[in-house]
């Protein structure tokens, strides 16, 4: 490249400056590439480490320390006498109920269908399995109410199964608003004591004994097709509320009775 000033000294100086500039450009380019490569490697490493650590923190459901009455799907069956894990009929229609205790729609479901499900359970028409899961922790301002409540319910199933249902009912009756701080551990314990749970059992809620089980059961529920709460399964198949609208009183009851041949087999003269 010719300069306007054709002095050979200037031309050599210009060439030298240009060469230096090219070296500098190359150095800068190399620096930038190294920065970029380092960023990518650090990010990939962080991502992989995070994945491994996180996957080990959340046990697979079969490995999690579960309430003794829990089944392999992460649910707590309730028998004809209303006691968790006792006198659960087999060979009948199985109803799985996936609920988050902070979820207002679950509360509505309970108000609409609670008594119907109780009577179908008591006369042995259905086997009712509760899945207290946690998908709404982000709605309790960092206090993880959903997980703590589900854990408390699991503890009661494990230690005081005769009060399992009453405790759930009471938690619904005292359900905190979404995006509040939920109920404190002491408040949850007080509610439990209020339905007859022994004080030492209620006092153990804050230990979080079954929190990992709740998380594992929630993940299992998600793998089984739960995408929100409440989710209802009948005979382990998702029940579509567009097909059977269980927010209309009586619809779910009629559907289950019809499925079960119209009432318990102990009374063959009953018709649906």
């Amino acid at each position: 490249m010719a300069n306007n000033k054709q002095d050979p000294l200037d031309a050599r100086a210009a060439a030298k400056a240009k060469a230096q500039q090219q070296v500098k450009a190359k150095e800068r380019r190399t620096t930038v590439i190294i920065i970029a490569a380092a960023l990518v490697v650090i990010a990939a490493f962080a991502g992989i480490v995070y994945f491994i650590v996180n996957s080990s923190k959340v046990p697979a459901l079969p490995d999690a320390h579960a309430p003794q009455v829990a089944d392999e799907t992460g649910g707590i069956p309730v028998g004809t006498g209303g006691v968790a894990g006792v006198d659960v009929p087999t060979d009948v229609t199985r109803v799985d109920l996936y609920i988050d205790l902070m979820c207002p729609v679950c509360n509505q479901f309970e108000q609409i269908n609670g008594k119907d499900l109780d009577s179908l359970r008591e006369d042995g028409t259905i086997a009712l399995v509760y899945h207290p899961i946690s998908i709404l922790d982000r709605a309790s301002s960092g206090t993880k109410y959903s997980t703590r409540a589900a854990n408390a319910v699991a503890v009661v199933a494990d230690q005081d199964p005769s009060h399992f249902l009453a405790f759930i009912t009471a938690l619904y009756a005292n359900q905190p608003q979404e995006n509040s701080t939920g109920l404190s551990d002491d408040e949850i314990a007080a509610i439990a004591i209020g339905v007859g749970v022994p004080a030492d059992v209620a006092g153990s809620f804050k230990k979080g004994e079954f929190e990992k089980w709740v998380i594992a059961a929630t993940d299992r529920a998600s793998q089984d097709g739960m995408t929100g709460t409440p989710t209802v399964m009948v005979n382990r198949e998702l029940l579509d509320p567009k097909q059977v609208n269980y927010f209309t009183p009586g619809t779910l009851k009629a559907y289950l009775e019809q499925l079960s041949g119209g009432g318990s087999s102990a009374d063959p003269s009953a018709s649906s």
Binding site: Q21, Q22, K24, A25, K26, E27, R28, R29, T31, V32, I35, A36, L39, V40, A43, A44, A46, G47, I48, Y50, F51, N54, S55, V58, I135, D137, R138, I215, T218, D219, S222, Q223, T227, G228, K242
Partner: protein, 158 residues
């Protein structure tokens, strides 16, 4: 004093670049705060097999943050724009897929995700959002020169 068009474009591109970085950070943080929810959101699409759903759910925020850092630094801006557009294409495919399949789910793009009441589903708005993001990425792809960037520092050596 006349302002050169290329100068104006550089300023616009800088804003676009920083906005994209902000959007990525805004998308990544809620996922990291409730990573189980992020995994559930990916699973709800029912596109990926289980292992991939878990892997994608947990590593997507890292991809988003890495890209955000590249954009913040103005490092390989044009390539960053391409990566952004590839991500948008993938997400748009995902939204179109669930729209077509009729799954009532929330996209989970900014945390959350999973099923919603069918009356709340808003695929058209989500698609519009995606289109907006594509426009940002396309602008940066076409006009990648920005102020305050490592790219600029590298170029200044030439």
């Amino acid at each position: 004093m006349a302002v050169k068009r290329s100068e104006v474009f550089e300023w616009i591109s800088t804003l676009v670049r920083l906005a994209m970085a902000g959007i990525l950070i805004f998308a990544a943080i809620p996922k990291l705060q409730d990573i189980q929810q992020a995994v559930r959101a990916v699973r709800a699409y029912q596109i990926l097999p289980e292992f991939l759903a878990s892997l994608v759910g947990k590593t997507l925020p890292f991809l988003e943050l890495t890209l955000a850092v590249f954009l913040l630094l103005g490092l390989f801006t044009r390539i960053s724009a391409i990566v952004w557009l590839a991500m948008m294409a993938a997400f748009m495919f995902g939204v179109a897929w669930v729209w077509y399949k009729g799954y009532p789910i929330d996209c989970g793009c900014f945390g959350g995700g999973g099923a919603v009441d069918p009356s709340e589903v808003n695929y058209p708005i989500h698609m519009l959002e995606r289109v907006g993001f594509v426009i940002l990425g396309a602008w940066l792809l076409i006009f990648p020169r920005t102020k305050f960037s490592l790219d600029g520092w590298m170029r200044a050596g030439d």
